[in-house]
């Protein structure tokens, strides 16, 4: 039996391909993208999952982030800048998600509600960080993850989140202090138990 060529279904007819080439050429071919995806997807998914507290949503947003990344004109500077640009897209998607009418505003979500939701959906309940993360505001989670998990500077975080670098420094300081307090409290609770 002859095997069906599935790629033919996606083949772009010549006329339409010419139309696309009039807009702009894809700045990354399939193989280059596959390599970039393998190197960046796990980190991006972890970022989205930890900030949103919802693994399913994280998967959806990750796919949409890569689609938008591929459709956009990439910044100069190679993979480091590609990765930062990808995080910027993902951050904007997260913000859009929180701002949708059905969802509550990013800043208005009660921390207890987030903690309860995370508690229900959490898979790796043994992780040390998750209970403390659940008690943080989404924006604080974003800043903490970008600074301490991804190692971005204040300026880079400002580019990704759209905040000012000075604001990032102050917000990050507050968030880190709160997170450290929560981690110490958890450690004390565990040692008592």
């Amino acid at each position: 039996m002859r095997k069906k060529d599935t790629t033919a279904e996606y083949a772009i007819p010549n006329v339409e391909a010419r139309l696309i080439s009039r807009i702009d050429e894809p700045s990354m071919d399939s193989d280059a993208f596959a390599g970039f995806y393998q190197r960046s997807a796990a980190g991006l998914r972890a970022y989205l999952a930890r900030v949103s507290g919802n693994p399913t949503l994280a998967d959806d947003l990750m796919q949409e982030s890569y689609l938008r990344f591929l459709c956009a004109t990439h910044p100069e500077g190679g993979e480091v800048n590609y990765r930062r640009y990808l995080y910027r897209i993902a951050t904007n998607l997260l913000r859009d998600h929180w701002r949708r009418p059905r969802a509550m505003c990013l800043e208005d979500i009660p921390e207890r509600l987030l903690a309860a939701r995370d508690g229900m959906s959490r898979v790796d309940s043994q992780a040390t960080l998750d209970p403390a993360m659940a008690l943080m505001r989404p924006r604080d989670r974003q800043l903490l993850w970008l600074a301490h998990a991804e190692g971005y500077s204040h300026k880079e975080i400002a580019e990704i989140t759209g905040l000012r670098a000075g604001s990032v420094r102050l917000l990050l300081y507050r968030a880190r202090r709160k997170m450290a307090r929560l981690l110490r409290e958890q450690a004390a609770d565990r040692s008592r138990a």
Binding site: E16, I20, S30, F33, Y37, A41, L44, A46, A149
Partner: protein, 169 residues
């Protein structure tokens, strides 16, 4: 809240980023971190995040990059098609608007002059249907014979100009 920074904070952050904490650091720096709250917060939080980040880097991300790439190509194709057809749509809308505006202006102008064309319309009956063409040519004298082709040409040229301008942009 007061932002109390420490002069050793950058050094500690760099050591954590490079994976040199605590073995690759001087005893003085380690002693300082033990006594300084901002630096100890930094070490505690960064180590917690780095552990989670390291664990998550071994997780297999769902989805196929090849499928994502093709989906992106389809999305680009749709966007390109929309962009190409946009000037045509704009030209069509513009031509329609010009035609409607000229028609309204013509009706208003005729109304001011006593609706002479209405009397012509009332004369058109079913029995005279076969003679419609010859009758129409007889009635469309003077301004009317010039106005209708003029309106048509204006709409056509206007639509063409808008199309060419938007196509170029």
């Amino acid at each position: 809240m007061k932002l109390s920074s420490c002069s050793f904070e950058k050094e500690v952050a760099q050591a954590l980023k490079d994976g040199h904490w605590p073995q690759g650091c001087t005893p003085e720096l380690r002693n300082h971190v033990g006594a300084c709250t901002p630096c100890s917060d930094l070490v505690l939080v960064t180590q917690a995040f780095q552990r989670v980040r390291s664990e998550s880097s071994h997780e297999e991300p769902g989805g196929s990059p090849g499928l994502l790439w093709w989906r992106a190509q389809l999305r680009r194709r749709n966007a390109a098609t929309q962009q190409i057809s946009r000037p045509i749509t704009i030209a069509e809308i513009f031509a329609l608007i010009v035609t409607v505006v000229v028609a309204i202006g013509f009706i208003a102008w005729q109304y001011q002059h006593g609706l002479r064309w209405a009397s012509w319309w009332s004369e058109v009956t079913l029995s005279r249907g076969l003679h419609l063409v010859s009758m129409g040519s007889a009635v469309m004298n003077g301004n009317l014979s010039l106005l209708i082709p003029g309106v048509g040409m204006l709409a056509l040229i206007g639509g063409l100009v808008v199309y060419l301008v938007t196509e170029k942009s």
